[in-house]
């Protein structure tokens, strides 16, 4: 996690998680949140990460949960988690809390 493992992120308020036709979607609903045309579709791993970004848990904790749950090497999970959080952040769907 390149030293950012202690960072804490939270889901932003104006984003709604929907399940539509078996697909989990993040739908931004407020003008100040993300690009309103950008709907994220999450797979199972993305959904779990989204649920874990609760504004209390540091990324290290999220990573540990992923490694345990999905039985994956820590380096691989760390790179994927980091890239995913960066994308959520760039899209304005999460915010850094600490």
């Amino acid at each position: 996690m390149d030293g950012a493992g202690g960072a804490v992120y939270a889901r932003r308020e104006g984003v709604v998680l929907r399940e539509v036709a078996g697909e989990h979607l993040l739908v931004p609903i407020r003008k100040d949140v993300a690009d309103l045309k950008a709907i994220f579709a999450l797979n199972g791993v993305g959904l779990r990460i989204w649920e874990l970004l609760d504004g209390a848990r540091a990324l290290d904790g999220v990573l540990a949960e992923l490694v345990e749950r999905f039985d994956v090497p820590i380096e691989e999970a760390s790179a994927d988690l980091s890239a995913f959080v960066d994308r959520l952040l760039a899209a304005g769907l999460v915010e850094r809390k600490g």
Binding site: R18, A21, I29, K37, I39, A41, V45, F84, R87
Partner: protein
């Protein structure tokens, strides 16, 4: 562990897959609701006719019904919801229902004449933006616009609201209905949209009133003339030609309805009847007596099962990809969804002419 996201997972590619799955699973992805058929304008061509003038409580349902409906359709998988009418802003609870839809993660759009847009509505759309607010301009000039709407002051109120919404960053699109009353101004209406940098479309389709009054049809323009006006939009002509090329080889349809109505689409009218689409008046389910899920699962599938009547002409016609073929609309005009509507047929012919000429030109190009 699979990657939490894969390339291209943002929007389009995934939404296309989502649509495929929604069709396969019959998920009500796209709906329209009309909380009222009332309207304070008196447009000469409107298919709602006398229904526009009903008293406020005339069969309309209360706020609790509409809020519950929004919750139910969200639960069932509705992603896009169009709030139309009548004029939806006549309902004092429009904002409550709209807000509920947005907070449920539904992408809401609104068809409105915009003349009732006030600061409260602008703020609502700023805070919880719609996908689109679509406004019809009935004329480029005050004289022609109000000749169509029959209400003095409506032109200025409409344009004022459109410009305010645009200034405040709300997504607005403009539309023109081609009428004998305004056909000379359609190019100027198009320019008004271009000047504002907003999407624009024209619509040549007029229908008899739902009560059978055929008065709106008096305002139709000759089909070839209507098509010439719509095809002034070069990108529309290109897209139409491409679409025709893509579709023309398809085998004839085997069912009466091959659209999305009742498959991923639904409509709910002001009296709470769940219908396959806005244009259909059969196969309804009374949502005051049962849930959306019951109506969707038990009644609307029967709409999809309608077979073609012997002698039906349209399912194998080459022009069906261009005429806007809709058996429900044909039914409004001819009394039977199995009978072709001559005006739609003429629109199809006129479009086929321009499309073929376009395709010939592109073949001749070096």
């Amino acid at each position: 562990m699979e990657r939490p996201t894969s390339p291209g997972d943002v929007v389009k590619a995934r939404l296309s897959a989502l649509l495929d799955r929604a069709v396969a699973q019959r998920v009500p992805l796209n709906g329209t609701i009309a909380m009222t058929h009332r309207c304070h304008l008196r447009c000469v061509h409107c298919y709602l006719g006398c229904e526009r003038q009903g008293p406020p409580a005339d069969g309309e349902l209360d706020t609790a019904f509409w809020l519950s409906l929004v919750d139910q359709v969200a639960q069932a998988g509705c992603l896009e919801l169009l709030i139309t009418g009548g004029e939806p802003l006549l309902r004092p609870d429009f904002a409550l229902v709209y807000e509920r839809a947005r907070r449920r993660g539904i992408l809401a759009s609104v068809f409105t004449n915009a003349t009732l847009v006030d600061e409260r509505i602008v703020r609502l759309f700023e805070e919880l933006p719609p996908q689109l607010v679509e406004v019809t301009l009935y004329g480029a000039s005050e004289r022609v616009y109000e000749r169509v709407t029959g209400v003095r002051g409506s032109y200025r109120r409409c344009l004022g609201a459109v410009d305010t919404l645009l200034d405040r960053g709300v997504a607005v699109a403009l539309k023109a209905v081609i009428l004998s009353d305004n056909k000379e101004e359609v190019p100027a209406i198009r320019r008004m949209a271009e000047e504002r940098g907003v999407a624009f479309r024209v619509d040549a389709a007029l229908f008899p009133c739902r009560d059978g009054d055929r008065h709106p049809l008096d305002h139709r323009v000759d089909a070839a003339e209507a098509v010439a006006l719509e095809m002034e939009d070069e990108s529309l002509l290109r897209r139409t030609a491409e679409y025709f090329q893509q579709m023309r080889g398809l085998p004839p349809e085997t069912q009466l309805f091959s659209c999305m109505a009742g498959l991923t689409g639904f409509h709910v009218d002001p009296q709470g009847t769940l219908l396959p689409c806005l244009m259909v008046s059969t196969h309804g389910f009374d949502l005051r007596r049962g849930s959306f899920r019951e109506g969707w699962d038990e009644v609307l599938p029967r709409f999809r099962e309608q077979a073609l009547a012997p002698g039906y002409e349209c399912h194998a016609c080459e022009r069906r990809f261009l005429c806007g073929l809709c058996p429900a609309q044909a039914g409004m005009e001819t009394g039977s969804p199995h009978r072709k509507a001559d005006y739609a047929c003429r629109l199809g012919e006129a479009r086929l002419d321009v499309v073929k000429s376009r395709l010939d030109k592109s073949h001749d190009a070096p």
